[in-house]
């Protein structure tokens, strides 16, 4: 654990050093590429602003992740339980992924308004497919030996699903949730870029328009830290919940 933390710190510091070296060598003006020191100062001055603007983004991400996962799990279960429905549901799922999120995000703002709902919707659309796909895959690949055992033991279809197929599919679902966790902040930010009055994405756009590139970098780093932290927490929780996963 300590080794991993040390590794992460070394990687982080090396990246900052590389960044500073690039700024020194190419002598970029601060409105093109500010150095780490300027960004740090921006953090210091705008801490309150960044902090308050982070809250809506965090809420949107977490709500989007929660709803997206629940919808993904439900869709996968529906496809497994009602096989004929699968042929109707699968094209809808694929279409939802074929349409670029950027293209549909303005529509979502029109439908759900400038508030959090449209950002949560963007996030949900982005990530419920990986969850559905991973969980459905897991549910379809229950080891045949388990099913044979359930058959010879005369265990009902529902009990087999609940007590054998779902637990056996949990490691696959966990992979889907991990992918979704990595996507979730991106979904929220895209939603905010398209139309918002608050949030980190909104702040980044504003900072960009005013050439406050250091602030933009500060927002970006905040977002990266939040994303990593979220992934780390979700990953640990999944590991704790599904101890038997390979």
């Amino acid at each position: 654990m300590l080794k991993k933390i040390i590794q992460a710190v070394i990687v982080f510091l090396s990246l900052i050093l590389l960044w500073q070296i690039v700024v020194w060598i190419f002598k970029f003006p601060p409105y093109i590429l500010p150095g780490p020191w300027l960004v740090l100062k921006s953090f210091q001055h705008e801490a309150l602003l960044i902090g308050t603007q982070s809250i809506p983004t965090i809420i949107e991400t977490l709500m989007g992740l929660l709803i997206g996962c629940l919808m993904g799990i439900t869709a996968a279960l529906i496809m497994v339980l009602f096989r004929p429905l699968r042929w109707w549901l699968l094209p809808i799922l694929l279409i939802s992924q074929a349409i670029p999120t950027f293209a549909i995000a303005p529509l979502l703002v029109i439908w759900f308004g400038y508030g959090m709902a449209s950002k949560i919707a963007t996030t949900v659309i982005m990530l419920f497919f990986p969850v559905t796909s991973a969980f459905y895959d897991g549910l379809s690949r229950t080891p045949t030996g388990y099913l044979d055992l359930a058959n010879t033991m005369h265990i009902s279809r529902w009990r087999t699903l609940w007590s054998i197929r779902i637990p056996a599919a949990l490691p696959a679902l966990a992979s889907g949730i991990r992918v979704a966790t990595a996507f979730a902040p991106i979904g929220a930010i895209i939603g905010e870029w398209v139309g918002a009055s608050k949030g980190l994405g909104f702040l980044m756009l504003n900072a960009n328009a005013r050439m406050q590139i250091a602030l933009m970098f500060a927002c970006l780093i905040t977002l990266v830290i939040f994303s990593l932290l979220l992934y780390f927490i979700v990953d640990k929780l999944l590991q704790l919940a599904i101890r038997w996963q390979p």
Partner: protein
């Protein structure tokens, strides 16, 4: 001692005129076969000849084959067979999210029979003791060795308390010494049950089987069974067993050439 719990008399099982086709291939053509009551019948033969398919057919599991409508499968007591079968596969099939005890009790738990009758839990603990896993009740399968896992699978099969037991290469993945110990345990605990044991190991068949069949050809047929003397598990150093092993190996070699 464990067999005292078996209140059902083990019937013999008769299969008559079974034809199974897999695509263009005919696996069995009018195959007739009897599993003698309260005896262990072992089935050997080349890979892919249809041993496991036959076992799966008897167990009522999917075989992916077409079967003829006029075949018959019935027990000597004319009672239905499908709820009187316990099945043990090559892999232990222990669920990694359950403890050893819960794995052994899985059938009762998932049929909702555990709450009604606490007796099953006690019997599971007793059986796990008989297979030497009394100290591993709450352990997860990943904490056990291959041999211990297969012992737990044996306990699960026996706890189902069915008169007919179908075993598909249950000990094939184990090392030689563990295999010998498990064979002795199985012979003791499977007494008075009608058993079909599929194996690739001639010595295992001769130690455990009352009837040892070799399946060969396409469509597959069964030869006259070898009937080793004495009760299982027979002694490895018994010269009669070793002679039969040679004979059986020759039969298997011929079966391979068919």
């Amino acid at each position: 001692m464990m067999n005292n719990h078996n209140h059902q008399n083990a019937p013999s099982l008769h299969i008559r005129n079974l034809t199974l086709r897999y695509g263009e291939n005919t696996l069995f053509n009018n195959l007739s076969f009897t599993l003698e009551a309260s005896k262990c019948s072992c089935l050997l033969g080349p890979s892919g000849v249809g041993k496991s398919t036959l076992l799966r057919f008897i167990a009522g599991l999917t075989t992916g084959c077409q079967q003829n409508a006029d075949m018959q499968i019935h027990a000597s007591d004319h009672l239905p067979i499908n709820n009187r079968i316990a099945y043990m596969a090559q892999t232990d099939l222990l669920m990694p999210w359950l403890s050893v005890l819960d794995n052994v009790l899985i059938g009762y738990r998932l049929r909702g029979e555990l709450r009604k009758d606490k007796h099953h839990r006690l019997r599971a603990i007793e059986l796990l003791g008989a297979v030497g896993l009394q100290d591993s009740l709450e352990k997860k399968p990943e904490e056990l060795s291959g041999g211990m896992r297969q012992r737990a699978a044996l306990a699960r099969t026996l706890l189902e308390n069915k008169p007919i037991v179908l075993m598909d290469e249950p000990f094939s993945a184990l090392d030689a010494i563990t295999k010998l110990h498990l064979q002795e345990l199985a012979a003791e605990l499977l007494q008075n049950k009608t058993v079909l044991l599929i194996t690739h190991d001639p010595l295992e068949a001769l130690r455990l089987g009352h009837y040892v069949y070799v399946m060969s050809g396409q469509p597959a047929t069964l030869g006259q069974p070898i009937t080793p003397q004495g009760e299982p598990a027979r002694n490895l150093t018994d010269s009669a067993i070793l002679t039969l092993q040679g004979e059986l190996l020759l039969q298997l070699e011929q079966a391979q050439l068919c």
